[in-house]
Symmetry: C2
């Protein structure tokens, strides 16, 4: 089991302070994992990630499988050596991206057949294949291959996804050969009883950690936080809980308050490249003219390299001049902001003053900052590349006419067709 | 004079070992200046520049004047503070870019009137204005505002440019108010006697340093090295000599052998972003399939961060995945390669074994590497963004149909029109 462990160091209300142990080092929780999609956290080096405060990074199986290929990464010494990051790595299963990014995809009980968005080649991703890829990459925490239906969806479709997710989770456990561990993923959409069934079935399989999946895939925004809290409650106290693909700083705070331990999101890195910078008093858009000759750092008491060395005026200039250095410095600031937020939460929980932290955090945000409009999606961000998920913005890039909603509608349309096909097949084989 | 000085520490043949002193620190010569066009050497931080071995950087007056504006830079504490580089900065005069990048431009005895390529606003750049801008930026070495005619050009046009360059050089001296010093620029095209006249007239004005200008602007390629060597000979021994905008590693070596002390070129940084990496055995194009699973660094004994930490396979992957980190690591490698080459030349000159260095350098290059096909332009680079000058590739970006040659033709057509207009005006005022 690759020296994996989880220690619950303390609780404060529902908020938890813990420590993951892996053969690549420890991860203090609650933890935020910067996203290194294709084997690089965009614009920054591993040394800079450490300086920002990262203990662990997430990489995407789908991207690395297609390019350069998991065998190539293995030949080059595995993902850690490939990207020169010696800390723990969590990889997702590839299923979510195969559902959402590939041009053509078909789901059946075996897995997902899809056409690569890079070269048009056809691929079949199955639970066994996903485990093989994640093993070849050498990830410390692999994720089970799950079915993540787009919402809104009829209850039967979500129930069926729960069934399939459990079956596939079992297959994943059987096929996984290390070097790390595998986490289960709870599905069930917005139905508490389906969430509960999914959680129970996965707990029976005894995974060393559990993720809350299937949030932020089209359901009404206020549902996401509710579901995350609800699902966290169902999971065993002695295992880490990971809310996938979430979100804004206020979403992380809410989810930690609900008992979640781990997070990942492209928001700090992607928004940085779009010029949106996080501060404890809300976001600033660095391209605004008011920063033209502003000599102040992004945030006065921020310890990051960008704030120690550069003015808002310079960062604005770099953004407008499309200088790569601008993306770098903005990324360093946003990651430091996220990772310092996690550190402050850990301290508050350890000290038994998380409630006070919550109040301080919320009162520092500008009035009118909506707190529940949706974890992970940021409607106030006016950049074309803003939504949190790779899924949404990539789909939009391919087809300017589509929106996150229509992308989800398409996903759901496909899901419905697949379900119909599957039941027809079932009927014909009876 | 801003504490400026130049010390000739030794010579070996015509090659010179020297040291520039400025109030911002010393520069060991022969020196290569990385180009930080808009107040940032693309993709890298000042800390990384130091680690690569840079003593001094070059920034472009034209770019910084248009965006964010020299007054803004001054308000933010000057260019050094703006970009967080505490070493010496050399700025060009802005004339070359105004001639070549702006949409509409007209030359007369006052200066260049041009339309900004950014927002269409009209500007008049004069010798006095160029000095004002470079003073506001706070550069340690400012360059005179010169006329740089595109070649081929009739002798009369080049002679006229020499006259105007001398007149403008005098104006620059009169208007410059510090904080640094101003270098003169020798024009004269490919005519030795015009070069000599230009050099003599500028020497009479007693500049603390001299540049060889007007090379690599359309003349036959073999001419560039000849002109550089010829002009270097005409310049005073106790002043630094700067060959502007040149070039490939082999061009730097040839020019150092001819007695040149200072260089700048976008080639190491631009080619890096295009995936072309310099090694002592010639260039490699990192996107080639042969590097797919190559575990070796770009160059075995290179001390740079990219070579110490990453494989060719990873750098190829980053390039194909268009990761910003790829541009960063490639830039760090190429700059280190250039700056280490300068350091090796300095050592060789100091030790009196520059001839042996030359032989070793040339024999390490792959057979058939053309040595004189043109300083600064690299015909073997198959990237769309390859030529050395901002001028060439920017023009090409704006108009896909044009090429470096047609861009030069256009420049020349404009120059011819301007000359015709000027002589008509002269005639009419007689």
């Amino acid at each position: 089991m690759g020296g994996f462990g989880f220690q619950l160091l303390g609780v404060d209300g529902r908020a938890r302070r813990g420590r993951l142990t892996t053969s690549r080092g420890e991860v203090e929780t609650p933890a935020f994992m910067p996203v290194g999609t294709a084997g690089a956290v965009k614009a920054v080096t591993p040394e800079e990630l450490r300086e920002c405060g990262a203990d662990i990074v997430l990489c995407n199986t789908y991207h690395l499988y297609l390019r350069p290929g998991h065998e190539v990464v293995a030949e080059l010494g595995g993902l850690h050596r490939f990207m020169s990051w010696d800390g723990p790595i969590l990889t997702d299963s590839g299923g979510f991206q195969a559902f959402s990014m590939a041009e053509l995809r078909e789901l059946d009980d075996r897995g997902v057949t899809f056409r690569s968005h890079l070269d048009g080649s056809m691929h079949l991703l199955t639970p066994a294949k996903s485990m093989e890829i994640q093993s070849a990459l050498g990830s410390d925490i692999a994720m089970v291959f799950d079915e993540c239906p787009a919402l809104p969806a009829p209850r039967e479709a979500v129930a069926e996804a729960v069934d399939r997710t459990t079956r596939w989770a079992r297959e994943c456990r059987e096929h996984y050969r290390g070097p790390g561990v595998v986490f289960g993923i709870v599905q069930g959409g917005t139905w508490p009883d389906l969430r509960e069934r999914s959680a129970r079935e996965l707990i029976d399989l005894d995974f060393p950690g559990y993720a809350v999946g299937g949030t932020n895939v089209g359901e009404p925004r206020e549902e996401i936080a509710r579901i995350a809290a609800l699902t966290a409650e169902m999971l065993p106290h002695d295992r880490p809980r990971y809310l996938m693909g979430i979100g804004r700083p206020e979403d992380l705070v809410d989810a930690v308050a609900a008992g979640v331990d781990m997070f990942d999101c492209v928001m700090p890195t992607r928004n940085a490249r779009n010029g949106t910078l996080f501060t404890s008093r809300g976001k600033i858009n660095i391209k605004q003219r008011r920063y033209l000759n502003d000599p102040r750092p992004v945030e006065e008491d921020c310890r990051c390299h960008a704030c120690r060395k550069y003015s808002r005026g310079y960062l604005r200039h770099l953004f407008l001049a499309r200088e790569i250095l601008g993306s770098r410095l903005n990324t360093i600031h946003n990651l430091t902001h996220y990772l310092d937020l996690m550190a402050r939460m850990r301290e508050a929980i350890s000290a038994g003053r998380f409630e006070a932290f919550l109040e301080g955090f919320r009162s520092a945000l500008p009035r009118g900052t909506p707190r529940r409009e949706g974890i992970g999606i940021d409607p106030a961000n006016d950049q074309p590349d803003a939504p949190c998920f790779e899924l949404l913005s990539r789909s939009r890039h391919r087809s300017p006419a589509s929106s996150p909603v229509s992308c989800m509608t398409t996903m759901w349309g496909w899901r419905r067709r697949a379900t119909a096909l599957a039941s027809r097949r079932k009927r014909s084989t009876k």
